[in-house]
């Protein structure tokens, strides 16, 4: 796999992570489905994993960057499994509305698993790491768009989390944004 293909795949992956986080925002602000603390932490884990994709785009593909993706996604998967287990017994309630039959934590787990498997598949190809020419730091439209979207959702999450939780911990079951009259956790 040439490094150009690696760059394209990493840009597409970063765009997918950015799109997931945009959808989470849509669910929060459009459908008024406020995120629980574990949901916020899972968003942060998506960013932790996506960080490896950013490093691949800016510094060139390295095994350590895929390690960043796998570690971030593994932590996120642990969080989503924890949330799934909280409600796995029938009759123990749920958090938020199901989307296409699955709750957001279940979708998040699938996405984290895909990030781990995708990184492992990318790691199988050694040719992307042994390039003779130095890595070009110039970014074409797609990687640049992916980076801008990703940076925007990171900034958006800082603002959103401050709105929801203030500067301390979040309430377990938020009913409204803290800065708009809610109570801190």
């Amino acid at each position: 796999m040439p490094s150009d293909v690696s760059k394209l795949l990493n840009a597409l992956g970063l765009l997918a992570v950015g799109a997931l986080l945009v959808l989470a925002f849509a669910d929060q602000f459009w459908f008024r489905d406020l995120p629980c603390p574990l949901c916020i932490l899972q968003r942060a884990a998506f960013i932790a994993g996506g960080f490896g994709l950013v490093l691949n785009l800016l510094f060139g593909p390295r095994p350590s960057h895929y390690g960043v993706i796998i570690l971030g996604a593994s932590l996120g998967a642990a969080m989503s499994i924890r949330q799934i287990l909280l409600h796995i017994v029938p009759g123990t309630g749920s958090y938020g509305e199901a989307i296409f039959g699955l709750h957001l934590a279940s979708w998040a787990f699938i996405a984290f698993a895909l990030m781990i498997v995708g990184s492992a598949i990318m790691l199988l190809n050694d040719r992307q790491f042994g390039r003779p020419e130095p890595w070009s730091s110039r970014l074409s439209v797609l990687p640049l768009t992916a980076l801008v979207v990703f940076a925007a959702v990171v900034a958006g999450n800082i603002v959103s989390t401050l709105l929801l939780c203030g500067i301390w911990f979040c309430p377990d079951n938020p009913t409204q944004h803290f800065l708009f009259g809610g109570t801190p956790g």
Binding site: L58, A151, F169
Partner: protein, 51 residues
């Protein structure tokens, strides 16, 4: 507190954009550690399952 990991990852992104790989990795590790601590803090309910 909950926005701290996002802040650290944002600083890491800024460092990466400025081609400071070491600093970017440092911010990422700090963000991951904070994330782990926050995850531990929020595991308050006992799971009602038998494993």
């Amino acid at each position: 507190m909950m926005s701290l990991p996002f802040l650290l990852f944002a600083c890491g992104l800024g460092a990466a954009w400025l081609r400071q790989r070491g600093a970017a990795m440092g911010f990422w590790v700090a963000g991951l550690v904070v994330l782990l601590v926050l995850f531990r803090v929020h595991m308050t309910d006992v799971l009602n399952i038998a494993l």
